[in-house]
């Protein structure tokens, strides 16, 4: 797994690539929670180059979402570019309606 953090019109974009599993998800968790700690208003996670995700990866996003809501500063976590195979796991886990999911960065920002 690899993580790249960039700025897009003042919004933080976390681009993840490779496999998110029990080995790599702690590093993703750390990045996510540190950005939430800094009260990032819009937190976009680009999943388009993620080839695999297991339940520890899903748990990481669920935790991020909960932390963001608990922060009470109106920050929003948005998942973008989700490949079909990963979308399918979110659907199976009934999380596709819990997360804000967008096709690309612009759709996510215009919402």
């Amino acid at each position: 797994m690899n993580i790249e953090i960039t700025d897009h019109k003042g919004n933080k974009v976390i681009a993840v690539s490779g496999d998110i599993d029990m080995y790599s998800s702690p590093a993703l968790r750390k990045e996510l929670l540190s950005l939430i700690d800094k009260k990032a208003a819009n937190l976009l996670v680009d999943l388009s180059r993620v080839s695999y995700i297991d339940s520890s990866g899903i748990a990481t996003f669920v935790e991020g979402l909960k932390m963001m809501k608990a922060g009470g500063y109106g920050g929003r976590l948005k998942l973008i570019g989700m490949p079909e195979g990963i979308m399918e796991i979110f659907r199976f886990s009934k999380l596709d309606n819990i997360f804000e999911i967008y096709g690309n960065v612009d759709d996510a920002l215009n919402s």
């Binding site: 080995y23 339940s55 669920v62 195979g85 199976f92």
Partner: protein, 143 residues
């Protein structure tokens, strides 16, 4: 040992990718579709993650043995550890409506495998048997 393979790995999470690589190759050999392979790979990864987390309490220096068997009518995975005895009656995925981190692994395992059974007779450690029947049309149409 015709049509079977055995993998022994350390109980370190970085070896999950190695187990996935082997699972995918065995799935392909057994004639699964790419989508079926993805489901089975995820399920085997989840079962192994649970061995590391629960049977070995995160100890990364133990070993896990995974046996694969391809038969005409099924795909079998047997996972063995020498860790803390699992009490199958306490294994329960969370309700999918109750959104919180964790509790998805068992659902993902049972989605891919028809049988999920711990060998009660094993003296030390655990032996988990996973069986996926072939031509399980219902399962493969579900998603």
């Amino acid at each position: 040992m015709k049509n079977s393979a055995v993998l022994i790995i350390p109980s370190h999470p970085k070896f999950l990718s190695v187990l996935r690589g082997l699972t995918a190759a065995m799935g392909e050999l057994s004639g699964m579709t790419t989508m079926e392979i993805e489901d089975v790979k995820l399920a085997v990864d989840e079962a192994c993650s649970n061995v590391i987390k629960y049977a070995y309490s995160g100890d990364e220096g133990k070993r896990i043995t995974v046996k694969f068997r391809i038969a005409k009518d099924r795909f079998e995975v047997i996972m063995e550890d020498t860790g803390i005895k699992t009490h199958p009656e306490f294994i329960k995925g969370r309700s999918l409506e109750d959104v919180r981190p964790g509790g998805l692994g068992i659902h993902l395992i049972k989605r891919a495998f028809d049988v999920f059974a711990f060998d009660e007779k094993k003296k030390k450690g655990n032996r988990l048997t996973l069986i996926r029947h072939k031509k399980n049309i219902k399962k493969s149409n579900e998603h």
